[in-house]
Symmetry: C2
Subunit: 645 residues, 2 copies
Amino acid sequence: MKRRPAAVVAVGEDSHAVLRPLAGGEAEIASGFWAERQRLNRDVSIPHGFEQLERAGNFENLRLAAGTGTGAYSGLPLPFLDSDVYKWLEAASWELGRAHSPELEAQADQAIALVAAAQAEDGYLDSYYQVLKPDARYVELPMGHELYCAGHLVQAAVAHARVTGRSDLLAIATRVVDDIDRALGPTGRPGVCGHPEIEMALVELYRLTGEERHLTLARCFLDRRGHGLLGPGTYGPVYYQDDRPVREATTVTGHAVRALYLASGVVDAYLETGERALLDASVTQWEDMVAARTYLTGGVGSRHRDESFGDPYELPPDRGYCETCAAIASVMWSWRLLLATGEARYADLMERTLYNGFLSGVGLDGRSFFYVNPLQLRADHQQPWNNRGSAARAGWYKCACCPPNVMRLLASPEQYVATTSAAGVQLHQYATGRVRTAFGELDVATDYPWSGRVEVTVAETGTASEEWSLSLRVPSWCRGASLAVAGQERRDLEPGAYAVVTRSWSAGDRVVLELPVAARLTEPHPRLDAVRGSLAIERGPLVYCLEQADMPAGVELAEVALVADGELREGFEPDLLGGVVIVRAEGVGTTPREWGGWPYRDARDAGPARRGEPVTLVAIPYYAWANRAPGPMRVWIPGAAAASP
Amino acid sequence: MKRRPAAVVAVGEDSHAVLRPLAGGEAEIASGFWAERQRLNRDVSIPHGFEQLERAGNFENLRLAAGTGTGAYSGLPLPFLDSDVYKWLEAASWELGRAHSPELEAQADQAIALVAAAQAEDGYLDSYYQVLKPDARYVELPMGHELYCAGHLVQAAVAHARVTGRSDLLAIATRVVDDIDRALGPTGRPGVCGHPEIEMALVELYRLTGEERHLTLARCFLDRRGHGLLGPGTYGPVYYQDDRPVREATTVTGHAVRALYLASGVVDAYLETGERALLDASVTQWEDMVAARTYLTGGVGSRHRDESFGDPYELPPDRGYCETCAAIASVMWSWRLLLATGEARYADLMERTLYNGFLSGVGLDGRSFFYVNPLQLRADHQQPWNNRGSAARAGWYKCACCPPNVMRLLASPEQYVATTSAAGVQLHQYATGRVRTAFGELDVATDYPWSGRVEVTVAETGTASEEWSLSLRVPSWCRGASLAVAGQERRDLEPGAYAVVTRSWSAGDRVVLELPVAARLTEPHPRLDAVRGSLAIERGPLVYCLEQADMPAGVELAEVALVADGELREGFEPDLLGGVVIVRAEGVGTTPREWGGWPYRDARDAGPARRGEPVTLVAIPYYAWANRAPGPMRVWIPGAAAASP
């Protein structure tokens, strides 16, 4: 095996990455916002996940495949329950790398033993087909999810091998890949999986093993896609990105998670091969997504129908699907593009997505999860029967993809904090902790996102060079950022770029970055019809929302508007929602009561605009919504009509 | 058989209806808007439908059931293709009642012969179960659609029997009902169909046959519903209205067509039994639907997901589902409520739905149909694979419910024009033609909807009484309506009510109703978030829209706004879209180009509102959209920001 960092995307010196991730242990989040979430994930979510995998039958399915199970196969008609086990194993692996835990290790070993026992002698492993359709291996590729499950197994195995140094799970995964290679590889049948995922997993396996055939198999699947091999199926070729070759795609379309897992695999292949067409296509798609198909929260995938991307500017706040898994996939894709290009915009979108559209996917209790993350919930919300799009988080889902996906990301956020390059160290996300590189060890101290002050101290100088550059991302939302180093201050740093400090560093040197995080009002593009005339409150990287729970008694959330030129007042509330800065804004009542039974009227009947009674609006961070009594919520708040003279 | 009118809802003297429909032949639309559509339906759509039923395999499915077919069963996995044959037969029946046609009669007889041959000896008839699952009769009630298909057969048979006096199709339908009665009737298994439809059909069959058991069976199915008999199924009990008993429902929820067919059956049962709880519940639901779940076009059902109603005020213009069948069901429901109560609001909604959300469902060519009728289409529209929600109408659908449903409604619009009561005659919808009642014969002359002038002349006096009342509906959208009779004029008639003229009538007496139809701007309720800050153009009963096809070269529809206080200019264009009045409005360009790659910005960066270049906006009736090159369309137009000083 090559020596590579135990990172989420472990590119090495020989890759085409502009930036290189840090290895496990090289970055550490010690306290603050993300440390609290990591701890909750470790202490509550991951044990909860283990319980749920037993309860929902995922483990029993593996036992059935091994011949030791006694129950009925669980989760039908969904064929991909194995993947939840693998996502959980990946989460557990990252946590075992962070700190030893006999209990967690025992649970992980139990799960690995089940997986090992389930694997067929020839290496095949997929409990659904082993138990229910043994004669249909690799036949139902459009919706069978076999390679999707295998991809998650590989990702878990790579994490486990890197972190623990053990090879047992990796050996299982490698045999699965060998079996897939024989059946569907370059010399096998020309198939491809309906749900992309294995592509990035295979590239990562290649990074670990150094075996070209793993990269070749990944490229084989990427090259085959987009030529109609999957057939139209139930949802059409766009659904699973089989309508256009990956190098020709210019927009993100179809099922959002599929689209972004595929896009991640495309960039992974670029990172290892340097094939520019792959990167160029991916950048074009990313720009399309960001310009017209991304919510303010970073959430993506606007349609419940087919869990898919919609038309440009089709971004309804109420019916936005914004699957938690799609937010995670977006982070994965942007991270790879950041490594490939070094451009701050990718870290910007990661920040936005992590703090908002991703984090809303898990409750403050650590044991409840949203599948769907809309930006508005009305009174009398009609719950969908599948629970996706409910007013409250659920402990688990029949289609449980999101919860264990949350667990694996919250088990590894420190990996996204910093990178290195030949020039020095880049800080992309801000959290209190330590970054260890060949250039030196950096202590980062910050109360981000509540405060925008970030202190970076050189704890020890390194061996790499005397003069090197420390790059600090100035978020694109940030006006008036300043930086102080060695008694000198730089003001009005360019937003959406890196502030670069190049010097010879000594131990004790300190850089202080000040990112003004004061609350601000955000307006939407005129083409974004669904929120026309509305404003959102943001503060630092956080998107805010209003909840009915914070409205004065008797005032309905649906009947207030925001005074655009009113004052915004901020305050930290330590006992509210785990401790949050709230923003108070000036509001007024809006809805006149004389509409009667038809919600449209002749504009001539309207009369002059009237403002209702003043009301103080209390905004909380969007990620923390739905942690009190279920009730209406909105991110976009109607702007109050101009006052009558 | 009792003697009843050959009407869509043939209530008799002994019913609890406040108003009574006219019999076939008693109302006639001779020329004008609806006559043109009837003619196109007869000459093009219905023959097209017959061809499609052969091509799509509906007829062959019946042959397979009869043992004479040779092909594979068509339409899978959909089990309800028989229903399309029945809807077509109902359409053909109404047309045969209007005027003889040897070709149409021969086609109808062909279809009836296929149905007759397919029927099993014991009366059972459903080709899907006969061919594919002979042992599963009446077992898969949640999604099997057997009773739904039977309901459509009954409706076709009742229409056919009334119009032709023949009993062959009726005999088939009655034997099917007998079989259902044995299996699932009061003394059978306690089942109910997942798709309501048979309830209203059985009441109508009772009206024709006078046999109490048909009414009893309808009530049996209504009473059983809402108690969880169907189980949760794939979509949950709300989907098929099995969550609440029909007398306790207060809102319209779940699958829209199911909800409104059921509601129609509920009112039908009230009309024959007088059970007030049925009517009260239905009125409450109707008010809920109209107040917060109906589009300006009358379209209903806002979610693609489950083809269902959404939350209150969840009315996205772009993703509005507004299934054509749901518009038809809404008309059916409102018609029954109108008969039950005599209140103008039901005729108002029928008018709105017929001219807009229903009529958009069929192309000007008579052979293309929309399944989904949104109020906005953007550039780069992502077509759904199932074609439901496409940018262009299709000749047929795999799930073909809508096209033959359009055919049966367009074959019978004259039945909704007028009613009688003990007091006299009521005119609900305006069209040139003749209305024959016991009170007298009325000639109606109008160029409605293009003109709002309606002349009603008493052609012959009747035998019923000397003094009687002529009631003329003043639409709720109409301001300043006036009426002239016998040299006297009444001004400012109350909108949304009937203007009643009570007198002794003589032949040649004339009433002239003037309904100002000048174009107007309409604004949405403040809770209707999706179209905040936008205005719609309406003229008379017609909702208008903008299409890209009418924009000046180089101007994108998405980049214009409407000047709210600008002039609206009207003109009839005989060569455009079959002849329409267009409305020209003052517009301005809107979208600044400096947004870059992210569709949100700090409101402080916005600068003062600027108006772009003036542009003339040409609005066409919504029903006529998508009859030229496919392209963007919108009903709701952003209001222009106030001009800078």
